[in-house]
């Protein structure tokens, strides 16, 4: 409501009736016959006396703009109003070029009842065929609301689905739909969130969405070839299936038409950019408002980037408890979000500003000013609303500046729109003026002498000041101290002033109400006293109000030193830890987990991120970082081959079989668990798809390179693995096949067979090259990779029977399962696993949390080892992954020897998931991932002191202590800033407090 008031307060919102008509310009190209009498108002205007900002950084004082038939015919300080033009005296006002919103939601793509019809696409979320031009319909409420903010032109972006259809450039005038389109179907809109209104089960996850995008780009490319093959055959064969969506995407996959990705987080930007690169698209991006976290990445990129200004409200810090729950991540975002546009500008990244993403459009102008008060120059702000989007939308020759020959799109304001609490008065679109607000009829501010002849009447001085829409002041009865007013309002239409103040100082119990009618410097009114009497008064203005006509927006937050860190949260790093050329850890107990075994008083030598040697009495070259390991234990970095931490989603359950989805597509670096894992000595994890599917998605190996971006966590050359799931979880969806363990087995088998058939079809086509070319099917490709052991199975399951069934099924198809995971009953088939060469990844002692885990035993790992099975532990849990050394320690109680126990989280873990050529032991040539412990790592009494990844120290107790101090400082300072700014309902950082001095919120 705050923003709405800021322009309502100055006057009255007018009905959107065009006050003059400029239709002539269009009539020549208009096909509709005129019903009734023609409207031929002159369409000839002169806007005089205004301050004209013709383009960013270019200002004409006291200038005139001449508009004729919708176009600007003259502009300049020396231009006089031509005879015959309707003159608009804009003295004291400012004129800007009409704004352009390059990502406007005009809500014209509502899903029809019963869904879309026709041969569109099998997936209802793929609406690439949708045309905003073909479906143009008028939502006048939204159109007028946008126009009232200064927008004359928008890119109307469809918002339903993942592939959402084609966006068009429209003007926001009141003319009919046929005259509103400037550039039809300019680009394709794509978003990462599906629309529930469209229905369909798949995709229901972030990685499913990315997989669908990839498949669709590939299908669109195939569709071109398939149609061509059909035509080339002389139509001697049957045509391929019809898909309007794929047909529509042809221009996009050929790079001839942009794809505009709506990104709602920094991760989504990275994902979209990667997709665009991989599929050679011409990308545009709607940003998330988090770009300030990615400035290093964005620097030098010139793709159109359209950012929202949806700055968050402050976290609740109104009590110590509430404050305790506010994370530094949230607090920083509150403080920094309004600096997002400035950060982009400072980095030289081109960007436009959109109203999209705001919960209410009335926040637009206040937030725009906020961005300016937090460092964005007014010129850059104006450019982001005019010249920049005009160029991207290809309308720069007609739009974006105030110049002769350009379309008369203008914003008239009563002050500097970017730095003052000013109002939009009129918006001109193609030569037609649309009134937005009227100036107030009175300005009662100043010093008044008021006097009353009646009993109990007030004699004294009334002072009214402050911005016109938030008048404040005081009343000073003669011989008494001034009393601040509790409320002051102006009813602009009638010139009435209403004020309230407490009566205590006048010896009255209660509030005193005053109403007066202001005319010039005279006021007549009456007073309502708490005792019921109502003396009248007269007053005269003795002093005019001095000061700015309206409040200037100044930055209302203190300067807080918040170093840029990644991730932008607790424990984030300003840069990656350096990699010393040589590191030597001396005189420690080194658990090599290799042929050297565990060595006392040993040294570990590391060079350029790789292990060189473990031995005794090793020499360090000069300049080496030498660490005294006396009394310490050194082990390889711990490995957890089963976590679900640090991803945007875990399960794609839209289909029972989804190996095409990839967890590597949805990693996030904003993941506090990674830091905690480092603190517990974990350096590598396999982040896995969930267990909702017999065949789930592709997993991803992650090294805990805390402070990097998601793609930098990935381990180059790591094996590819895919999640399978057996037992209770994949059969739990009552409406989806399968519902039994038997069905799980059969649906896997059927897909294996399908992949073989798919392979056959491809081979046949490659031999004959006749007919419609087969399409690349990512799902089938993935299953083929499984059958060919390029994609290794790591299967979730509990019971012996289901595991054995999968093992045998794989053998039937001539390959082997890589690992069984969880494997609560793996011990029951230990010998079978050994004989089939399958590794087991199990818990130390978790069980009995569900029926299929009831036969758990903490001797599971030991039994597996007794049978000779490669055995690893895992957590399946972000928290437990932070203490895998203790999980391994639990095995001691089942009689496993110490080095063997540690192997389940180091070398045997690496071997189980086939990454042992790189990590898992301290052997020459392996990655220098190691942990320094203050004692036996398997002891409950031991903790990690340093954790190194790739020969870089990512965690140490010393650095941790420093980071904690820094977190405490930053949190305290931001919390103080919030409290100073207004307590519980504190708005965006730097914005005026909400509801202060107002009678209602």
């Amino acid at each position: 409501m705050r923003a709405l008031r800021s322009f309502l307060g100055l006057g009255v919102l007018l009905a959107s009736v065009p006050l003059s008509s400029g239709l002539q310009a269009q009539q020549s190209s208009r096909t509709e016959p005129v019903a009734g009498l023609r409207d031929n108002s002159s369409g000839f205007h002169a806007l005089t006396g205004a301050r004209v900002v013709t383009a960013p950084g270019q200002v004409l004082e006291n200038a005139t703009i001449v508009v004729r038939n919708g176009l600007i015919t003259a502009v300049g300080a020396n231009v006089s109003a031509p005879a015959g033009a309707r003159v608009w005296d804009l003295k004291g006002q400012t004129v800007y070029p009409g704004f352009i919103d390059a990502h406007a939601d005009l809500g014209m793509d509502a899903v029809p009842q019963g869904g879309d019809v026709g041969p569109t696409h099998w997936n209802p979320q793929v609406r690439a065929w949708f045309s905003t031009t073909s479906n143009l319909k008028d939502d006048s409420t939204r159109r007028v609301a946008l126009r009232s903010l200064g927008f004359g032109t928008v890119l109307a972006v469809p918002k339903q689905g993942i592939f959402r259809g084609k966006a068009s450039v429209l003007n926001l005038s009141d003319v009919g739909v046929r005259e509103r389109v400037l550039r039809p179907d300019l680009l394709q809109s794509v978003g990462f969130q599906r629309s529930f209104a469209l229905g369909g089960m798949y995709p229901n996850s972030a990685m499913g969405t990315v997989a669908l995008m990839k498949q669709t780009f590939m299908d669109a490319e195939w569709y071109i070839r398939a149609q061509a093959a059909y035509e080339a055959s002389g139509r001697s064969i049957l045509p391929p299936e019809t898909s309007e969506a794929l047909a529509a995407l042809a221009v996009n996959v050929q790079g001839r038409q942009p794809i505009l990705f709506q990104t709602d987080s920094e991760e989504e930007y990275l994902r979209a950019h990667k997709l665009a690169t991989e599929y050679k698209l011409t990308p545009w991006f709607r940003g998330s408002g988090q770009e300030y976290r990615l400035v290093d990445v964005l620097k030098g990129r010139t793709h159109p980037l359209i950012v929202p200004i949806n700055f968050p409200d402050a976290p609740d810090v109104s009590s110590p408890e509430a404050a305790l729950n506010a994370s530094l991540g949230q607090l920083r975002h509150w403080y920094l979000a309004p600096t997002n546009p400035a950060a982009l500008a400072n980095a030289g990244v081109p960007f436009a500003i959109t109203s999209d993403g705001l919960s209410t459009l009335t926040q637009f102008l206040p937030n725009l000013r906020l961005a300016v008060s937090r460092g964005l120059t007014a010129d850059k702000a104006l450019a982001a609303l005019t010249t920049v989007p005009a160029t991207w939308l290809g309308i720069e020759r007609t739009h974006g500046t105030i110049a002769v020959g350009k379309v008369a799109n203008l914003v008239v304001t009563d002050g500097n729109l970017f730095t003052e609490e000013s109002s939009v008065r009129d918006v001109w679109v193609q030569g037609t003026r649309y009134g937005v607000t009227r100036p107030p009829q009175i300005d009662p501010r100043g010093t008044w002498r008021i006097a009353s002849q009646e009993q109990g009447g007030i004699n004294g001085t009334l002072v009214l000041e402050g911005p016109l829409n938030r008048i404040r002041g005081s009343i000073e009865p003669d011989n008494r101290r001034a009393i601040p007013l509790t409320a002051a309002r102006v009813v602009a239409e009638t010139g009435r002033l209403e004020i309230t103040f407490p009566g205590e100082q006048l010896g009255l119990e209660g509030a005193v109400l005053i109403a007066g009618s202001v005319q010039g410097d005279e006021v007549f009114g009456w007073t309502s006293l708490p005792n019921g009497s109502d003396p009248s008064f007269r007053g005269t203005r003795t002093e005019a109000f001095e000061g700015a006509a309206r409040g200037t927006i100044a930055m209302k937050v203190p300067q807080i030193d918040l170093p840029w860190v990644r991730p932008m949260m607790e424990y984030g790093r300003a840069s990656l830890p350096e990699q010393p050329a040589v590191v030597l850890v001396r005189n420690a107990t080194v658990w090599s987990q290799g042929p050297q075994g565990r060595m006392e008083n040993a040294d570990l030598l590391v060079r350029a991120g790789k292990v060189v040697q473990v031995g005794t009495g090793l020499n360090a070259p000069s300049g080496a970082v030498v660490i005294d390991g006396t009394g310490k234990h050194v082990t390889p970095g711990l490995i957890d081959p089963h976590t679900h931490a640090g991803v945007s989603a875990v399960n794609e359950s839209g289909f029972a079989i989804v190996p095409e989805v990839q967890m590597g597509d949805v990693l996030t670096h904003n993941n506090i668990w990674m830091y905690r894992q480092l603190a517990g000595g974990l350096t590598t994890q396999m982040v896995k798809h969930g267990s909702a599917n017999p065949i789930g998605g592709e997993n991803v190996f992650v090294k805990n390179r805390w402070g990097s971006l998601p793609d930098d966590f990935k381990i180059e050359g790591a094996p590819r693995t895919v999640k399978f799931a057996l037992g209770e979880n994949p059969k739990r969806s009552p409406t989806r096949y399968p519902n039994t363990r038997m069905g799980v087995q059969e649906i896997i088998r059927d897909h294996f067979l399908a992949a073989r058939d798919y392979e056959k079809a491809w081979k046949a086509w490659e031999t004959n090259k006749t007919g419609i070319p087969p399409r690349k099917d990512l799902r089938m490709e993935a299953i083929l990779d499984i059958l060919n052991q390029k994609l290794l199975i790591s299967s979730h399951g509990y019971r012996a029977d289901e595991f054995l069934a999968l093992v045998r099924l794989a053998e039937e198809f001539g390959f082997k399962v890589q690992t069984l995971q969880h494997g609560v009953e793996a011990y029951k088939i230990a010998t079978e696993l050994k004989n089939s060469g399958i590794a087991a990844v199990v818990w130390s002692d978790w069980g009995a949390f569900k029926l299929e885990s009831y036969d758990a035993t903490s001797y599971n790992a030991r039994l597996l080892m007794e049978a000779g099975v490669v055995t690893s532990l895992h957590s399946d849990d972000a928290e437990i992954s932070t203490r895998m050394n203790w999980e391994a320690g639990k095995l001691l109680r089942s009689g496993v020897e110490e080095v063997m126990a540690l192997s389940t989280v180091t070398n045997q873990a690496a071997k189980a998931v086939a990454i042992d050529s790189k990590i898992g032991s301290l052997e020459a040539g392996k990655d220098a991932d190691f942990v320094i412990w203050n004692g036996n790592p398997l002891s409950q009494f031991t903790k990690a002191e340093q954790t190194w990844v790739d020969g870089r120290r990512y965690f140490s107790l010393d650095e941790d202590a420093k980071l904690r101090e820094e977190i405490t400082r930053q949190r305290a300072q931001i919390i103080q800033a919030i409290l100073a700014a207004g307590g519980p309902e504190t708005p965006a950082a730097g914005a005026p407090a909400r509801g202060r001095g107002q009678e209602n919120k």
Partner: protein, 476 residues
């Protein structure tokens, strides 16, 4: 020598296992010896097959005096006795020291080089009243409704629960089975983890009253299915924090009025709920209030003082922010999750690990409980051990799972330390029971040398047999 299946498994981790090694390893494991040891300890003439099949045998009450000789005895309350002796008779400790008289006819067991600790006590558990987490019908924890002071955990304790054996194997010999849910959840029962029936196991049926303090930060809560109208009935409007606290106060006031009326002979008919409140109102048993946040803990203390209760705080996630008051008001805290991740991003990774040490340093009396429910009561030692890694003196960690737990919960006259007159409930170990680098070799509960078998060892033995059979099949 007491046998356990903990024979070490040693091999070079870098080698892949060969079938030859498998055979060797299989041969060295100890299935047979364990079975024999069990037969000896049970002291009956069961057929060998029956012994192999059993999971955990219950043994008869102590008949002969037993003397354990030569161990380092950690009394907890009276220091450490090197090369000490401890005499157990009719379930009680009758003598303890370096040179005590051996009763006539006593069985003397040489435990030289071993350590003796009191049995560990889990002050907050659901052992026996839950079996399988996601199988609702196997759980008897949460009664319907918000006020259930009369429900008593002991009557629902399944003496045959698999978790009892597993818990004992970790050295936890006494557990407070505790109902959950609602505002007043009911009565914890102190259960000794040996006995044919819950009746034999129960040390104190109505041991402590449990209250869940409302959450001021949560959105106003509705009654669950247990609310007025019952399951599927009309939903009451959501309640604010203040309303929930007021309701709790009203319930206590009404219970007190009932008690006074009953004492004056003025009650018309019996009220099970209010009647069950009387020991708590009179301060005869502790009132354990689950409270995590600082405001919760503070408000619970204010309330507990007003009501003049024997207050114990359970949970205590943010207790460090209330440490001064907890110390000043002498209110003990049972920490429920020391082996846990921090709750907030800005807290240290060791926020939970280190909380016990910080509270101890601040002078707050603490016990540590077994963490997330009855399924994992056997993790109690690790919960205490992690506190040692992060600064709690080891002897304090031991107290937190023995005498402190016993004191707070009002059974320190029976257990919690090795003292003459207390129950002979103890562990014979190779080192501290709080660290996995040591083993618990034998336990005694009320003087009974208990069967150390459990379901997990049962599966171990059974499937070692399978591995052996299949190794033979390959060989022949």
């Amino acid at each position: 020598m007491i046998m356990t299946p903990n024979q070490p498994l040693t091999m070079n981790p870098s080698e892949s296992m060969t079938s030859r090694q498998t055979t060797r390893l299989a041969r060295t494991s100890s299935v047979r010896v364990v079975a024999l040891a069990l037969a000896a300890s049970v002291g009956t003439l069961l057929a060998p097959d029956a012994i192999e099949a059993q999971v955990r045998m219950t043994v008869a009450p102590q008949e002969l005096p037993v003397v354990l000789r030569g161990a380092t005895i950690h009394t907890v309350t009276n220091g450490v006795i090197e090369n000490g002796m401890i005499v157990m008779d009719r379930g009680k400790i009758t003598a303890i020291g370096t040179n005590v008289e051996i009763p006539r006819g006593a069985k003397v067991v040489d435990v030289s080089g071993k350590h003796i600790y009191p049995g560990l006590i889990d002050a907050y558990s659901t052992v026996g009243i839950t079996e399988i987490g996601s199988v609702d019908v196997s759980n008897d924890i949460n009664e319907i409704g918000d006020f259930n002071p009369n429900v008593r955990a002991e009557v629902a304790v399944n003496a045959e629960s698999r978790h009892i054996g597993t818990t004992r194997s970790a050295g936890v010999l006494v557990a407070f089975s505790t109902p959950g849910g609602g505002v007043i959840s009911g009565l914890s029962s102190a259960m000794s983890l040996e006995g044919w029936t819950w009746e034999e196991m129960s040390m104190k049926g109505a041991a402590a009253m449990n209250v869940n303090w409302p959450d001021p930060i949560a959105r106003p809560r509705r009654f669950g299915p247990g609310g007025p109208g019952g399951r599927g009935g009309p939903q009451a409007p959501p309640k604010t924090y203040a309303e929930q606290v007021q309701e709790l106060k009203d319930f206590f006031a009404e219970a007190r009025a009932y008690r006074d009326a009953a004492a004056a002979g003025q009650t018309q008919s019996t009220d099970s709920r209010y009647a069950a409140m009387i020991p708590a109102l009179n301060g005869d048993i502790p009132v354990v209030v689950a409270a995590e946040g600082a405001a919760q803990i503070n408000d619970a203390i204010t309330w507990g003082k007003e009501e003049k209760l024997r207050l114990v705080i359970r949970g205590g996630r943010d207790a460090i922010h209330v440490a001064d008051r907890l110390k000043a008001e002498n209110i003990p805290v049972i920490l429920t999750s020391t082996m846990a991740a921090p709750n907030r991003d800005h807290e240290g990774y060791d926020g939970a690990y280190g909380s016990a040490a910080l509270l101890h340093k601040a002078g707050v009396k603490i016990a540590i409980s077994g963490g997330t429910g009855g399924l994992y009561s056997y993790r109690l030692p690790w919960e205490a051990g992690v506190a040692v890694a992060f600064g709690l003196p080891e002897e304090e960690a031991l107290k937190a799972v023995t005498i402190n737990a016993a004191q707070f919960m009002g059974i320190d006259d029976k257990v919690g330390s090795l003292e003459v007159g207390k129950e002979a409930t103890l562990l014979i170990t190779t080192g501290t029971p709080l660290d996995m680098t040591s083993n618990i070799e034998q336990s005694y509960i009320q003087g009974r040398e208990i069967d150390m078998n459990d379901i997990q060892k049962h599966f171990f033995k059974k499937y070692m047999e399978k591995i052996k059979q299949q190794a033979k099949k390959i060989a022949s």
